[in-house]
């Protein structure tokens, strides 16, 4: 187990094995995105209550799911970075924070655009919107802390601690905000017996959710790989690669 983590986490070996993963994940992302968007925007039927404007759900809901998922990934790589001092995991924290903040901002913006025709206002102080906004603040904190230190490894470890404290706090924040106020439509997908959504809408939504996941991984690999190169620029293996590719 330990050997496995150290081997796959060493910057040089990571750079090598992640190359193929990145390429395939990009291909899968493009395929899934194409299929999901086509199904969602053209094939899925019009909603009888919300008309055409509901179609923003195919971006909004996957982005909102990803905002939580990325935070989880960030906290997990934070634990890995703190416990085993894996350099790649330290880099992943910072990249996760940037990507996660973007997903959160995307979910908030699409939600605001969706809210205007549905609720008649861009913003309501409702539980889910508020906890998403707080999540964005938490991401800002991690990004700010990660980049505040001159030594990037110190910054990564500090950000890891913050991410772990955050992951304990997120459920508390979520429930506190939920009790505080709620107006948002209840979750329509996470009912196992019978989703309150028709299959013709549900399938493109799930496809889009998978597309967002693979997109996240492809983006994470690409950003982490270039950051690995930047941090290891004085080592001999990076120089070798640079000479080969130039």
């Amino acid at each position: 187990m330990m050997q496995f983590i150290h081997k796959y986490g060493s910057p040089k070996y990571f750079y090598q094995w992640s190359k193929g993963w990145q390429r395939w994940l990009t291909v899968i992302t493009l395929l899934l995105l194409g299929y999901g968007l086509y199904q969602g925007l053209f094939v899925a039927p019009t909603d009888y209550q919300q008309g055409e404007s509901y179609r923003i759900i195919f971006i909004h809901v996957p982005a909102a799911w990803m905002s939580m998922f990325v935070y989880m990934s960030m906290a997990v790589s934070g634990i890995v970075a703190l416990v085993w001092r894996i350099k790649v995991a330290e880099i992943v924290i910072g990249e996760c924070a940037v990507i996660g903040a973007s997903f959160t901002a995307l979910a908030l913006i699409t939600g605001m655009l969706w809210g205007k025709p549905m609720w008649g206002t861009y913003w309501v102080w409702d539980a889910r919107l508020t906890s998403e906004l707080v999540l964005l603040f938490l991401y800002f904190g991690v990004i700010a802390l990660h980049s505040a230190f001159e030594n990037p490894r110190t910054g990564a470890r500090a950000a890891a601690i913050l991410a772990i404290v955050g992951i304990i706090n997120i459920p508390i924040i979520k429930y506190s905000v939920e009790w505080w106020s709620t107006l948002h439509q209840p979750a329509t997908v996470a009912k196992f017996d019978k989703p309150s959504m028709h299959m013709s809408m549900l399938i493109p939504l799930l496809v889009m959710a998978f597309a967002f996941k693979t997109y996240f991984l492809a983006l994470l690999f690409s950003r982490t790989r270039s950051e690995v190169l930047a941090r290891e620029k004085n080592t001999s293996w990076v120089k070798e690669i640079m000479e080969q590719e130039s």
Binding site: L138, G141, F149, T154, I161, L162, N169, W179, W180
Partner: protein, 221 residues
């Protein structure tokens, strides 16, 4: 436990000797609370409705302002490093410093808040709930704040950054406290909110010192 008491005694002595510095966040609290009637309107109904939120948000900010005092001067003169090298559990050391911080900022706030709430026409029959929520929650503010300050200790502009990190974590405390006060104003049952705040206090008191020790280790690299 000897370690705990001696650190607590030391920090409280230091706080008393630097009482002018200690008073700054409290003066800040008083001034900011009195800005609200000037900025919004002196309307009695409006102010009494806003009072719990105003008192609580201002208390959060005042606590944040005072947070820097917990580790900063000890870090600058090197005594924190020596304290961390002491034998014995570091959790006790951190716990003592947090307790001292709460005694020097949280307690004075609890005394000041009811007085300031009168200026906002806060209904006196709910005064008990204001004091109780402050009593349970200000220790949580000191605990959570200590993580932020410990993480940013080695940075020159650590103060503002640690406020950014910590304020989102203060949200549950703010929500439960103001909900409890509002329930009490409307003569609704409040014990559930106290129980939640108490649970939050216990969990933070158990977990946060560990996070602070880890954060200090990172700061000393």
């Amino acid at each position: 436990m000897q370690l705990f008491y001696s650190i607590l005694y030391r920090d409280l002595m230091l706080a008393i000797r630097r009482r002018r510095e200690l008073a700054n966040p409290l003066v800040f609290f008083v001034i900011v609370v009195s800005l609200f009637p000037l900025g919004v309107s002196p309307d009695q109904d409006l102010l009494s409705k806003m009072a719990p939120g105003v008192i609580w948000v201002t208390a959060l900010l005042a606590t944040l302002m005072s947070m820097d005092a917990m580790f900063r001067s000890d870090y600058d003169d090197g005594s924190l490093e020596q304290l961390l090298l002491l034998p014995g559990p570091k959790i006790l050391l951190i716990g003592a410093k947090i307790t001292a911080h709460w005694l020097s900022i949280g307690l004075p706030l609890i005394v000041l808040a009811p007085i300031m709430s009168l200026l906002l026409y806060f209904p006196t029959h709910a005064m008990g709930s204001l004091i109780i929520t402050l009593l349970i929650s200000t220790p949580i503010l000191s605990l959570l704040g200590s993580v932020g300050i410990a993480l940013t200790l080695s940075l020159r502009s650590g103060g503002i950054l640690s406020s950014l990190l910590i304020l989102p974590f203060y949200i549950p405390v703010l929500i439960f406290s103001t909900m409890a006060i509002n329930a009490s104003v409307n003569s609704l049952p409040v014990s559930g909110y106290y129980a939640l705040l108490g649970a939050f206090l216990i969990v933070s008191a158990l977990l946060i010192p560990f996070a602070v020790v880890a954060a200090l280790k990172v700061s000393y690299n």
